[in-house]
Symmetry: C2
Amino acid sequence: MSNELKRGLEGVLVTESELSHVDGDVGKLVYRGYDIEELARGASYEEVLHLLWYGSLPTRGELDSFRGELESERAVDDDVLSTVRALAEADERPMAALRTATSMLSAYDAGEGGTLEEGARITAKLPTILAAFERARQGESAVDPSPDLSHAGNFLYMLTGTEPDETSEETFDMALTLHADHGVNASTFTAMVIGSTMADVCSAVTGGVGALSGSLHGGANQDVMEMLHEIDASEKGPVEWVKDARANGRRIPGFGHRVYKVKDPRARILEEKLRDLADASGDATWLEYTTAIESHLESEGLFEKGIAPNVDFYSGSVYDAMGIPMDLYTPIFAMSRAGGWVAHVNEYQEDNRLIRPRARYVGAADAAFAQIDDR
Amino acid sequence: MSNELKRGLEGVLVTESELSHVDGDVGKLVYRGYDIEELARGASYEEVLHLLWYGSLPTRGELDSFRGELESERAVDDDVLSTVRALAEADERPMAALRTATSMLSAYDAGEGGTLEEGARITAKLPTILAAFERARQGESAVDPSPDLSHAGNFLYMLTGTEPDETSEETFDMALTLHADHGVNASTFTAMVIGSTMADVCSAVTGGVGALSGSLHGGANQDVMEMLHEIDASEKGPVEWVKDARANGRRIPGFGHRVYKVKDPRARILEEKLRDLADASGDATWLEYTTAIESHLESEGLFEKGIAPNVDFYSGSVYDAMGIPMDLYTPIFAMSRAGGWVAHVNEYQEDNRLIRPRARYVGAADAAFAQIDDR
């Protein structure tokens, strides 16, 4: 046993994985060897789930069968919907509501099959929970899931009550694919630690949602969107605003990443999608702001220091252009990343070892106990 | 970065901690330097919480104030009780019900104070949730918490509807103290990983409950109790039963521990309590079985191999003697360990660093993407 302290476990290799790899120096992300850009453009989120969970991109027949399995599992029990409504009435934060309702799913789960089967049933239901919660806080009743739409399209349908147009569905599907996995991040690791006790997938995914709710993990895309709104409400142009903010010591959200030292490949793809959405709507405000800020910070030499746009810099604008409220961005991230959580738990359990590190004890050696009245 | 794989993180030092230390070679457990035996015999669970959370055993005045704080936070919102009833009707497992209802607490939490304040509000409510769940599945309505009883006494009161006798309350309080902390075990580590994202305590404790629900973590005391019932229902005496079971390759639950190489100090204390309970009730069945099995396995040389009774070998019998159903043992463990989860999250956050290890990528290097109809 090494006596070296590994705070944050940075650089500690906890397992081997075939699932995803980030090459931060060149800005490359792969899922099982497939470049994220090709997957985002050429495959649906369901195909990506099949890749992560079963090891291969599905044939047409495999996809039909897999989609059928997910579609048949979208509905949630009425008791879960009642709790979701109670949470909305109590003004619960969306991530916390998603955590509670996800945890509740196990009560109505048949418990059949292994990790991947339970994982599929949960992954299928997360959009239903989140859409029902959003509608409940708008005072609207839940929309039943449609069995005819894709995972992405059905979520937008349940959220709004109308079937999404093709651009919206494609863009949202792409965003789900881009967020589906990203190595052993804190929420994925949480799910793995829980899974390593052989707890059920529901416990692991619930833990993942909890970890992702922390301000050091999910939530940066919401920060970016709040900045864009702040710029919009100010008298300044985006570059002037950013110059002043930096002069006042403010960090610009959506820039820099522990792993990426160049522009995040997911940001490149989402920027392009934001352009499509702006063309379709005729409103290019967020596109103009974000690209202007990016060009300015590049000219200031930040890229050379390894501080470049990450996925969060563009995803917020994309969701906003689709009319999605800001505080749903992180729950949507969770909805997508559930695919990665399930994949990593399943992979780790195949050669499982309970995850249990140690702490170096630096407390008192021998404390003399005294009864309460002698203290 | 070392290239060595650390599966299970065994021996990896993730942090420094002043909270608890296990010396497995001599069978010693301390909380902040105080021997567990002195704490179990001389201090209440509330005093131990004060020690773990605030760093010192309380004076009489400090304890009164701290107990008042916990007592005023015992009641849970009616919506939580409704969900607990729904979960009981759906025949949910107690650990899963506790996980869901714990997660739900955040919706009704004022969000005031820091980690310890939120932790105190949650810790105060866990017994209320668990007792309400047990009563709901017995078809009984929940008993309102009593502000006049201790944490231990109030739980037994809410469970049964009558105030517990002194021996039961003392014994249960002792069991809570014995389970309150135990270094960085898997559930505590789960809570720490979640807390390291700066997620709320509710997320961390919910994750801890999920991890503890796994068969490799909590649950061994239930296995012991099932064995004792199996022996009771058989024609054999306990030693004969154990001999036959081992001859058939069965592992005897409640023996052996990753850290303890001698008899777990917590087992010693609970064995004594089991003796008190047997004296009080006149029924010494479980005491006779467990001590006979322990003597037999010692004579077989298991102790010399470092396989000795752990806390789970005696706690089940103690709970059973108090009339507590078997599937509540692990939730009771969670109710107690919540004190340790909160303490470790609070300690880690004081000098926080996001916990994010890495995986060694062993997947495909460059996979050639093909559209679905070309696969």
